[in-house]
Assembly symmetry: C2
Homo-oligomer: 131 residues x 2
DNA sequence: CCTCTTACCTACTATGTCAATAGGTTTTTA
DNA sequence: TAAAAACCTATTGACATAGTAGGTAAGAGG
C-alpha cells in the first residue's frame, strides 16, 4: 500500500510542475494549495531534495523547484524514492532476503510477473501525464 | 506490500490444491511442508474458514480441505480476504474515506487505473495456474 | 545592517500493524 | 478412553506510519 509519503510527494511534484515558471515555489504555498500540513511536507520534500528530484533555496524568494522538465520525471522514480521500494512482496524488495524456499517456491514466479507489471506501469507514466 | 498473511495463505491454498484427494489435510503436515510455524498458520487458516474458502474438521483424521476445485479459486479473492483489501492507496481502500479533494484530486485517476490493473491481474489468475 | 522569510535540522510521540508465540479447550475418530 | 486434530483467547516485541514541536541557518529587500 502506497503511504502518504508517496502520495503527498507526488502531489508536491505535480504542484511544482504546474507552477514551473523558473522561480522557487515556497512550501507554504504548496501546503495551502494541497491542504497538507507544511511541517509534514518538510520531511517529504527533504527526501526529494536528497534524492535529486528537486532543488531548494533558502531565504526570501526561496522555495523549491523542479530540476528537469515535467516530462523527464517518471511516477515510478518518485514513488520508489519516497516509498523505499515499489516491490509488492518482501521476497523481492529486501536485498539478501534469505528465504530457504527461493528455488522451489511456487508463488515466486507470480510475484515476479506482477512486480514487472507494476514497474512497467509506474515507470511508463510521466509526471506530465498527470496534468 | 503483500504481508505474510497473504503470501502464506496463498501457499496453504496451493498445498491444499496439490493434496486435493477429498480427505482432510492436517495443518501440521502443511506447516512442515511449507516450513511455516503451525501456530501462525492457525491464524491465517481461521480467516480462510470464516471467509468460506476452505472447510475444517476437528478430531482424528481431521484437517482442512478445499470447498471448490482449484480452478474455481482466484488468487485475487484469496489475497483480498487475507489482506483486507487489494487497493494500493487508502483513498480507494477505505470505505467512506473523507478526502476533501476527492473531486479535484489530479492523482486519483491514476490510482484508479492502477487499481484496475492490479485487480485484473489477481482476479484473472486462478489457483490452478500456479501449480 | 537589520529584519523578514524561507529552507533546513533534530528530536519526539501516539497509534497501529506485523509476525509471531503461548497455553489452553473442544471436537472427533479409532 | 486416549490420541489427534481444530479451535479459541490473549500477549508481546519490533517496527512503521503520520504526524508534531521547536529550533538554526541562509538569503533577499528595505
Amino acid at each position: 500500500m502506497i503511504s502518504t509519503k508517496g502520495r503527498y510527494g507526488l502531489r508536491v511534484m505535480l504542484d511544482l510542475a504546474q507552477h514551473n515558471d523558473g522561480s522557487y515555489i515556497p512550501l507554504k504555498d504548496i501546503a495551502e494549495r494541497q491542504e497538507i500540513s507544511k511541517k509534514y511536507l518538510e520531511i517529504i520534500v527533504k527526501k526529494m531534495v536528497e534524492g535529486g528530484l528537486i532543488v531548494g533555496s533558502s531565504g526570501k524568494g526561496g522555495g523549491y523547484k523542479l530540476i528537469r522538465k515535467p516530462e523527464k520525471y517518471t511516477v515510478g522514480e518518485i514513488l520508489n524514492l519516497l516509498e523505499g521500494t515499489l516491490c509488492s512482496v518482501a521476497c523481492l524488495a529486501e536485498k539478501n532476503y534469505n528465504c530457504p524456499r527461493k528455488k522451489k517456491c511456487e508463488t515466486l514466479p507470480m510475484w515476479k510477473e506482477f512486480d514487472g507489471i507494476v514497474h512497467d506501469y509506474f515507470y511508463g507514466k510521466k509526471l506530465s501525464d498527470l496534468i
